[in-house]
Symmetry: C2
Subunit: 377 residues, 2 copies
């Protein structure tokens, strides 16, 4: 289901089979939190070269609910996307969105951020929801400690994460044949990925990786990073994990990151990324371009009648000037959210495509150096 | 510059020449207030059969300012639209948006709703701004009395409106040759339209129409309607005006209206419409369909997996269900604004296209009857 086709230093070009087609790694997943990319259609994601999107189990469970999505024929049909979907387990949102949460051995109790109702999420429930959604890549439920938790807390949390990973796998194996929602066109079944935790402690990262590999998953994520720690710590934790993951399984660095973060992590052997940055920053007029970050509110752009990024062929860059995009942003126009998001997603997807091309031509290091030379963050 | 090609009862099919191409009447103008349709691109407007859009002088004057738009090469280039643009004079927004306004013989002083600064708009200034924007159809500055003003006020207001119309025309004739912004591809110059006022008084409407025709304009608008009066009053005022307007000039009912309003007004000889209804209502989940209004928030649609309008071939209706559109709307997704607006604009533009077809085939009355039979408002 996963083949590394080529390496350039430690950067890997791979092919991942999913129930909704095969996709090339390294890839970036635009985020369709509640079953929609903020402001873009799925056709646009496809046209921009998007191969796979990420949806959030936590949000979809709260609204409209996995039963409704199942009744609609699954998430692919509901949101009009025939490519693969990765769903997270909801664990991270319980940690980041819910003000009240109680961690128990059996699962996690939390209050909905929408209506305050109490919800109990177990490892089995997290898998069941994702199966009902019809996900192609299902994530185990994990516990994500904050960046500043002490070692004792992280050790305890890690124990729970490993126990839950085992329970998720057991449940997944029992139910995978029933996962009728996921209409596989190619005989490939949904995948289950484990999530390495261990906080900012290299030896706990190693322990977590080894325990998960012992259980055995279709792929391995590195979770609990990009939670406020310095970039160097993120890279160090990645380095402390990757050597203990199997060569023949995809590696997914969750919630990462900036263009620099992605390049540094691909260099360390990571294959998969997701992040809210391109979509969220777009809504704040924070634009990613080949020359670095452009902040649209800046007065400099008031009468700048050049395109946002001269090296970009997206609809936004081909048809509008920075002066117009600034005007839309300042005026709070809905079209601003749309055009900005379109460009930022186009930028990220092109970066991934360029990365794959560079690995294929065994010049990843040169590509990275050249890219960062021009890029002012 | 305007030819009536065919009539069906009093409904007219016509051809209007503009500096940005010829367009068929009756038409509806989607509103690009600040130089953008809320959530849609101009390419989409064109694909949906949009022939002309309306932009607001008041908004563009305040932000980004007509000088910037002129520097950008005119509004067409700024907002990426090569079809005709009609701009209003700003008079209506001074009346509806500014809390403080002082009417003077020379013009109107008002406070910007954006930053509270004092702005003085004269008939000449209104024309100058529209010329700098590069408008294809320029509107005179008028004074729009509220629906409940007494006759004495309306008489006084009408006197001012006629005086201002004269001044607008004088200024327009002096400056039209300098209007370099409007790059005519076909030798056609920008048009100047007069605006009939007169409140809810039929004989003042007649007087206003006659005075304006005496001055002589390229087209005639009926203003000051759709300001809260009952539909029957709107139709009566239209009937009190149309007979005094020349047959060979286009007639524009400003700010109107619902699908019923449009049908009733075409029947009374109106050729041009604009209204915020399709775009604004879309943002409130109030959808226009061939079967009538659909309010997306209704629980009925929670698990309704049929298209919004089975008789619509827009992107929204072809790709999504009511259940999904409801989910997006309830969740406050940006994509909801976009997909809803796309459909409502598609609906209005198709209605106009169907109206033109019915007139051409001399079956307007039957078309109107059939449409309203199916339409539940």
């Amino acid at each position: 289901m996963f083949n590394v086709l080529q390496k350039s230093s430690k950067a890997r070009l791979g092919l991942l089979q999913t129930a909704h087609g095969e996709i090339q790694t390294p890839f970036f997943m635009p985020i369709a939190t509640s079953g929609a990319i903020k402001g873009l259609t799925m056709e646009e994601i496809k046209e921009l070269g998007g191969q796979i999107v990420l949806s959030n189990t936590y949000h979809l469970h709260l609204r409209p609910g996995e039963d409704l999505v199942e009744k609609a024929g699954g998430l692919h049909k509901f949101m009009n996307w025939d490519g693969p979907i990765l769903t997270d387990s909801g664990g991270y949102q319980v940690f980041s969105l819910s003000k009240i949460r109680k961690l128990k051995a059996d699962g996690v109790e939390f209050q909905s951020h929408l209506d305050g109702s109490t919800i109990f999420l177990t490892p089995e429930k997290a898998i069941e929801i994702q199966m009902k959604l019809g996900s192609d890549i299902i994530m185990v439920l994990d516990e994500c400690p904050g960046a500043n938790e002490d070692r004792k807390y992280v050790e305890k949390s890690l124990k729970l994460t490993t126990e839950w990973a085992t329970r998720c796998q057991t449940f997944f194996n029992e139910k995978r044949r029933d996962a009728l929602q996921c209409v596989s066109t190619n005989g490939v079944e949904p995948h289950l990925f484990g999530i390495v935790q261990g906080g900012m402690h290299p030896n706990l990262r190693k322990q977590s990786a080894e325990e998960l590999v012992e259980i055995g998953f279709d792929g391995y994520a590195i979770g609990g990073l990009s939670v406020g720690e310095p970039n160097e710590v993120m890279y160090k934790m990645t380095e402390a994990t990757v050597p203990y993951l199997p060569e023949d399984k995809p590696r997914y660095l969750m919630g990462v990151g900036t263009p620099e973060n992605i390049l540094e992590s691909v260099e360390r052997g990571i294959d998969m990324f997701d992040c809210v940055l391109p979509t969220r920053n777009a809504r704040h007029g924070h634009m990613f371009t080949s020359q670095g970050v452009v902040r649209l509110k800046r007065a400099d752009y008031k009468d700048d009648f050049t395109p946002l990024d001269p090296n970009c062929d997206c609809h936004t860059c081909k048809n509008y000037t920075k002066a117009y995009l600034r005007h839309l942003f300042i005026s709070g126009e809905i079209l601003s959210l749309r055009l900005n998001t379109l460009h930022n997603v186009a930028f990220y997807l092109r970066l991934m495509s360029d990365i794959r091309k560079a690995i294929k031509e065994d010049r990843f290091d040169e590509f990275k150096e050249e890219f960062l030379k021009n890029y002012v963050s």
